[in-house]
């Protein structure tokens, strides 16, 4: 087996909720995702799968143990450093699209790139257009985000996740709000990203149909990893 490096890797990850009662959501979790791997986290509700994703995503910093992401130990980073890591290296797709309704589709896609500040406004617009084209949305670019259908909005959200060429795309039930046809489309897009661009992807889902088509399934049960 060739040595493919881990994009993200956890060591003995524990997470407690204190409110309303003391509850251990993650119990000594050790998982990893390799470069170019399309992995899915599954489990019953309450199994801790979303909790794990948010800890991995750097949004949730209230945990013990270590997370290594692209060579950095996340537990040692400041809040602002984590924000910069999210901006540059992680693309998010949530169950709900979270597009800013006052902005056009193109502006929404460009939002993380403007924050990154690596390119000029024109370059960013070109980049965003390119991502929209990839997702078949170029003719929607100048529409207001809230004028699009649910499936289109989710694709815009994927374009936004891709804009900074992230190391990994993390999704929390990205097809949870979509009908089967649109779910299919979203899955195909993710699959294509993996195959064409060697994109690492980690998706939380309870849709086994979706999960079975990925490279690897990580199953969580009561905060513990069952198999991976």
């Amino acid at each position: 087996m060739t040595t493919v490096k881990n994009i993200i890797e956890t060591k003995n990850l524990n997470k407690f909720f204190h409110d309303p009662v003391e509850f251990q959501a993650l119990k000594g979790v050790n998982v990893s995702v390799k470069q170019g791997e399309f992995a899915a986290i599954v489990g019953a509700s309450g199994s801790g799968k979303s909790t794990l994703l948010y800890v991995l995503s750097t949004l949730d910093t209230d945990y013990t143990g270590n997370i290594y992401f692209d060579g950095d130990n996340l537990s040692l980073q400041s809040k602002d450093q984590l924000a910069a890591i999210r901006n540059e290296k992680i693309g998010f797709v949530f169950q709900f699209h979270y597009l800013l309704p006052e902005f056009t589709v193109l502006e929404n896609v460009a939002m993380p790139a403007i924050k990154l500040g690596r390119y000029s406004q024109e370059q960013i617009d070109d980049l965003a257009m390119e991502k929209l084209k990839m997702l078949g949305l170029e003719d929607q670019a100048y529409k207001r985000a809230n004028k699009l259908s649910g499936g289109q909005q989710q694709r815009v959200a994927i374009a936004r996740a891709l804009i900074n060429d992230p190391k990994i795309i993390m999704g929390d039930e990205p097809t949870g709000n979509l009908d089967s046809k649109n779910s299919e489309i979203v899955f195909d897009i993710l699959k294509e990203l993996k195959e064409k661009y060697n994109q690492s992807i980690l998706i939380v889902t309870h849709d086994m149909n979706f999960a079975n088509k990925t490279d690897r399934i990580i199953t969580l049960r009561d905060g513990e990893v069952q198999n991976q």
Binding site: L59, K79, L99, L116
Partner: protein
């Protein structure tokens, strides 16, 4: 990247435009706060300036006089051997002494050479009763050298009828205050009788009518020649009670008054001290004005606070996604702080404009106020200081009103929002 391209300003502007009505209401709050401040502060300060000018024009910068008949220590207390004992002198009367300035002429000569002094005028004042036919009024005669008096108090400028020099050329001339002339029914050229406490009656001819602008003064004062005043009081030709001094710089009045007091041995009262009670009133007036305005601006601050809280509650998902895609807490603070500052900057500018317009419009309406002072138009002090103060204060209030919700927004936990959907 131009400033309008910055996502923070862009997001702020879109939020405000999406909530046009609330944004306008919040701006109106700031605008009215500032406009009212500028209007009211300008009015108060304009009134005070008018009043100060008029009183400064009618009170001497420094008035030198003999503080006779004041309470004096009893003679017993000045005996050394009685020190420390309980002394009691009942019903002690003031010393019988004329309130006269001795060597008045010499003091005037010295003062006229003083480099701080631009004018010196001798003065002899007395109570008097003015009679014309059966009309009679009590008032005060001011015995003056009218040319010198004019240097100090601009008598000619305030004369509505007649020339002040008539007081020198017509031996029994008198210049009446406007209110006094009205109440006597006296016109130019009429003869009136002036009766002094000393029992002397002089028949005098009205050669001028004067309006100083301070109603109380115009109702009681009449100018006559110094010599006639001395006649009325049956005193000799060197007798004067006051020396009024005009200074080149009125701000040194207090220090010079102390000097003169020591030098000449007479009480020297500067204009500030003479009008201390009025300045006291002004201070309270200003305090009330500022309090009212500050409360208006604080209320508009609450308005801004309110609209921002509304926007933030509505925009929680937006805040959450911005944080998820890498916007830092301080970026979020900046977004909402920018929103409140935009409200403050625009509302404030409109307020400055409205306040200025209100000053101009109201200041151009003829009012003919007659009260404490009389003026034809309301006068506004349009000092840039008020405008700057109002604007800066408004910006501070909006910044505080914006910062609190902005901070709250930056502390929103993105996961809570995203997971609760």
């Amino acid at each position: 990247m131009s400033i309008l391209q910055s996502p923070i300003i862009k997001i702020s502007l879109r939020h405000l435009f999406a909530k046009k009505r609330q944004t306008i209401v919040a701006m109106l709050g700031v605008m009215f706060g500032i406009a009212v401040f500028i209007f009211q502060a300008g009015l108060m300060s304009g009134f005070q300036m008018t009043f100060i000018e008029q009183t400064v024009n009618t009170t001497a910068n420094i008035r030198l006089y003999n503080e006779a008949n004041k309470n004096r220590p009893s003679i017993l207390s000045q005996i050394d051997s009685l020190k420390g004992r309980l002394l009691f002198v009942r019903n002690q009367k003031p010393k019988d002494e004329q309130p006269k300035i001795r060597n008045g002429k010499q003091i005037i000569d010295i003062l006229e050479k003083d480099k701080n002094v631009s004018g010196v005028s001798p003065f002899l004042g007395s109570q008097a009763i003015f009679k014309m036919g059966i009309a009679q009024m009590s008032g005060r005669v001011s015995g003056v050298d009218i040319v010198k008096e004019n240097i100090l108090f601009n008598v000619q400028k305030n004369n509505t009828h007649g020339n002040i020099l008539k007081l020198q050329t017509i031996p029994n001339g008198i210049i009446l205050g406007e209110g006094l002339a009205d109440m006597l029914g006296a016109k130019m050229g009429d003869n009136i009788n002036v009766i002094s406490p000393a029992g002397v009656t002089l028949e005098m001819k009205v050669v001028g009518i004067n309006r100083s602008g301070i109603t109380e003064v115009d109702k009681t004062r009449a100018y006559i020649n110094l010599r006639n005043a001395q006649k009325l009081l049956r005193v000799d030709g060197s007798y004067i009670t006051d020396i009024n001094i005009k200074l080149k710089d009125i701000n040194v009045a207090g220090d010079l008054a102390e000097d003169y007091n020591e030098k000449f041995g007479y009480k020297a009262l500067d204009w500030r001290e003479a009008n201390a009670n009025i300045f006291g009133i002004f201070k309270i007036q200003n305090m009330i004005t500022y309090l009212v305005i500050i409360s208006i601006l604080i209320v508009s601050g609450f308005g801004i606070f309110n609209i921002l809280m509304m926007i933030i509650y509505e925009k929680m998902p937006d805040i959450a996604i911005l944080k998820a895609v890498g916007y830092k807490d301080r970026d979020i603070v900046k977004i909402f702080l920018t929103e409140s500052l935009l409200i403050g900057i625009v509302g404030g500018l409109l307020g400055l404009l409205l306040g200025f317009t209100m000053q101009q419009v109201v200041g151009s309406i003829k009012m003919d106020v007659k009260g404490f002072v009389s003026m034809e138009y309301l006068r506004f002090n349009s000092s840039p200081l008020f405008f700057i103060f109002a604007y800066v204060f408004a910006l501070i209030v909006t910044a505080i009103a914006g910062y609190i919700p902005a901070r709250k927004a930056s502390k929103i936990d993105a996961i809570d929002i995203i997971r609760s959907k």
